[in-house]
Symmetry: C2
Subunit: 258 residues, 2 copies
Amino acid sequence: MMTKQAQAKTVTAGMLVVGDEILSGRTKDKNIGTIADFCADLSIDLSEARIVADEIDEIVEALNALRAKYDYVFTSGGIGPTHDDITADAVAKAFGVELKVDQRAIDAMQARFIDYEMTAGRLRMARIPEGGELIDNPVSGAPGINIENVYVMAGVPKILQAMLESIAPTLQTGVRQYSVSVNSQVGEGVLSEPLAALQSSYQTVKIGSYPQLGSKEYMTQIVMRSSDEKILEQVRHEAQAIVDDLFEKAKKGQGPTI
Amino acid sequence: MMTKQAQAKTVTAGMLVVGDEILSGRTKDKNIGTIADFCADLSIDLSEARIVADEIDEIVEALNALRAKYDYVFTSGGIGPTHDDITADAVAKAFGVELKVDQRAIDAMQARFIDYEMTAGRLRMARIPEGGELIDNPVSGAPGINIENVYVMAGVPKILQAMLESIAPTLQTGVRQYSVSVNSQVGEGVLSEPLAALQSSYQTVKIGSYPQLGSKEYMTQIVMRSSDEKILEQVRHEAQAIVDDLFEKAKKGQGPTI
């Protein structure tokens, strides 16, 4: 019998961060972590992220690569009112469509503020690639853009988060992934062999190992992920047994800890 | 007369972060910011960064794309002792060379610790692609790898930083870029037109505008970058005049602040 989960398909996503300020070190990116958490919550498999500079051809190339490869592409950055904000131009170019001032976008912006003068910069923010839909921006009004499988959003973290809230209900979600972890007081050098054997026995479970430099509580965290909770519990049990056994041996002086 | 700076060439770099844990949201990446600062200090132009999962073909594809495109590629992550660490394998595959246990790497690892047993996992960390050189790792011994223009380093931030210190003196540096900024108490919507005009007048200067949501001191930061300090000072002066003028008008009720 096929379970409901087995019928559901994997949903994948790529992310594109646009902005010189990240690559120059001036600003530390927070949006990749935000999008990663957002995808995890929706069981969407974030498969790749790219950061490119504010160069139109670089944005076009990355966008076309990502939108061909994944179910969804989420972009952040480069949709403000100033001359260095060129993401909308790049999106239109990538899709081969016109970029025109859109009355829906003007209305959305003016609805937020009284006496909101549509300066040339703001008119830039009202340009939407042909065929695009607006993404609601409850923070500052200027909308994001959804065109086909691409979601074009702001780089300001607060606005990005609000836009994600706006699009979340419209997205297809994937098979729910469960995650369990086991903390080990022996290090990766000792763990690597039994862990590789465990991975071979359970090929549907993804087993990752993450060293914790400088942690006093444990030296390695073993993280196991699967859509099957039952198998996951079994693997967690076996991983715990491996870890306990190695630590007991180390305590008795019969084996190394690192 | 050509100045020394004008003769120097631009040096570019790409970065590749390898790790499911970043894309799943479990770990928030710190290494891109570190590499961005590192490149800025050396006047190397970090032009792109990519994050891919622990999938060998994804790593190979991204690595080959980046190493063809930029002077240097810096990678972080996936060089530990466990089965999910496959960056070295991917690097060997990308270069089409063998990946063999290297005595120099064993020596480097054993030099750090007394009674250091070469487990199967540690032997994995001693595998170096043919033609590769070691990158010194003063923290935990297991070396990084330099092969052609690619620098393969650890994902643990403390180790990555130590490896960067190791390679810094060997890298070619670019034309020194200077950066100045002006804080504006009026917002991007008002600034965008005069700023676009300023950019048109000074095409060798890169002018970026960064809104500061929630800051009380200013609403927008204008950042100007160039290798020519004299022109930069001139642009800074003009940007300051624009900002002051717009703010004066706004205070007198003769213009908008946002």
